[in-house]
């Protein structure tokens, strides 16, 4: 009974949200109702891999473009953020040096980084990657740093009494002890990367879910905006769950 309720309650929540959406569509003439949204969008959902034009593509195809871009930007951010996090974690000196800088750069919006990326790289694709990497690497840096600092004295003692070399200490103690924290960082970073992708696609007009959203807005096909929004939300949710799953696995080790 309780399990049934646990399954049903989220559905009730979704139902209520649809009701509010439907109600809003009655008062705002430009907002398509849930039913109309589905009717106008089903081509994209039912033929998810179709390619009819540069931006007029099936939703899975668009999502794929976005995911690839996010993946690249996220990996770039993680590749920079992880070693920086380790360095800051072991060196209080470096932390002192860079902490204020980090605190200032962290809250900068992706929309602010993107034009700078365009200035630096003169092309939209690398500029998008730049924005994603710069925005998404902070949680990785901060969590990795915290993870290194949280290593119990016991483990450092092991390294000292066994006289482990620096490399061995790093590989066999620091990295495994920090791994759960690193993955918390990765999960948060991926979430941010996914937020940034939409903004950067909208600004640069590259094909993807965000680019599609912006183009359909300009073409006055409002149902597709809702389709894109839902897609973004669902994919973001799935990404978070996948990373959360990996994180949970690591915590139990």
């Amino acid at each position: 009974m309780k399990r049934l309720l646990h399954l049903l309650l989220p559905l009730v929540g979704v139902g209520l949200a649809l009701l509010v959406w439907w109600g809003a569509s009655l008062t705002v003439p430009d907002l398509p109702s849930p039913v109309r949204t589905w009717q106008e969008s089903k081509l994209y959902v039912l033929e998810p891999l179709a390619k009819r034009g540069e931006v007029d593509q099936g939703i899975a195809r668009l999502a794929y473009y976005s995911l690839v871009r996010v993946g690249q930007g996220f990996l770039l951010g993680a590749a920079i953020g992880t070693p920086v996090g380790f360095l800051l974690g072991v060196s209080p000196l470096l932390t002192r040096m860079f902490d204020p800088l980090m605190q200032v750069m962290r809250p900068i919006s992706p929309l602010a980084w993107l034009p700078l990326g365009l200035v630096l790289f003169r092309k939209s694709e690398p500029a998008a990657l730049f924005a994603i990497a710069v925005c998404s690497m902070w949680p990785t840096i901060i969590n990795t740093m915290m993870g290194v600092r949280a290593i119990p004295q016991d483990y450092w003692n092991v390294a000292r009494v066994l006289r482990l070399s620096r490399t061995t200490t790093f590989l066999k103690i620091i990295v495994p002890a920090t791994l759960p924290y690193m993955f918390t960082g990765y999960r948060l970073s991926l979430g941010i990367a996914w937020l940034v992708i939409v903004a950067s696609e909208m600004l640069t007009g590259t094909p993807g879910v965000g680019g599609f959203l912006w183009q359909e807005y300009n073409s006055l096909i409002y149902a597709h905006i809702l389709l894109a929004i839902l897609t973004i939300g669902i994919i973001g949710f799935i990404l978070d769950r996948l990373m959360g799953f990996a994180e949970g696995k690591l915590r139990t080790v």
Binding site: D154, Y155, V161, L164, T168, K172, P176, V253
Partner: protein
Amino acid sequence: MPFIEAAGIAKSFPAGAGVRPVLRGVSLSVERGEFVSIVGAMGSGKSTLLSILAGLTPADEGTMTVDGEPVTGVRTNAAFVFQNYSLLPWFTALENVRLAVEASCPALSRQEQKARAKETLEQVGLGNALNRRPRQLSGGMRQRVAIARAFATDPDLLFMDEPFGALDALTRETLQGELMRLCSSVSQPVTTIMITNSVEEALLLSDRIVPILPGPPATLGAPITVDLPRGRDVALLAHDEQASHVRAHVVATLTAALGNRRPKTTPGVVFTDKEKTKPGLVFP
């Protein structure tokens, strides 16, 4: 010449604006192959003393040599057993021990390191738990792994910080027995310094007992020789005259230092400042 020679060791830690002296005028000499226990209440600076002797913490004052050489850091051929096991949770029992073998004998192949680790774990009765991780092992088994890790590197010097402090009485007794067996079975004589708060444990295992007199700063009392053959038995110790004599002496020294509290000399006296109540007399 004694194997370990420490003279005039002093140590303080910063506390607020000033410093808190922890140890003062600590001198100790230990012969090769000797088993010395340092007994005292928790918080008296025992662990600090051990980590200074082990080269983990530098002393503020004093001189210290091991085997004629001044101590500058952790010595090769020294091994450690800590109260809280200090095993790496992401490695299996075998890997935990193998890592120690790898660090001390990098010339061995991985297979040889594994074989050595396996052999030592079998010696402490963990042959069937090689591939289990620490969290899948009981406290006693974890400490067996830690003891195996210490002995796997064939040490000539062993430091133990309350090695059985976290274990229940029964497990503690079994492990004390195992330790005695291991100490007598190794190829070279192992010089051991053990920290403990149990007079009974010190009586069972050591050649000499050194009471630590709480300060601050703490100092060492005169060593008391336990003139009984090794391989002692808890039950026999309870009635042995020499043992009773040593026990009474140690307890009297410690209690006198604790501030003229009148001791009742009961077997199994435990000095503790935590509420880990064990049978016997407890000094709060």
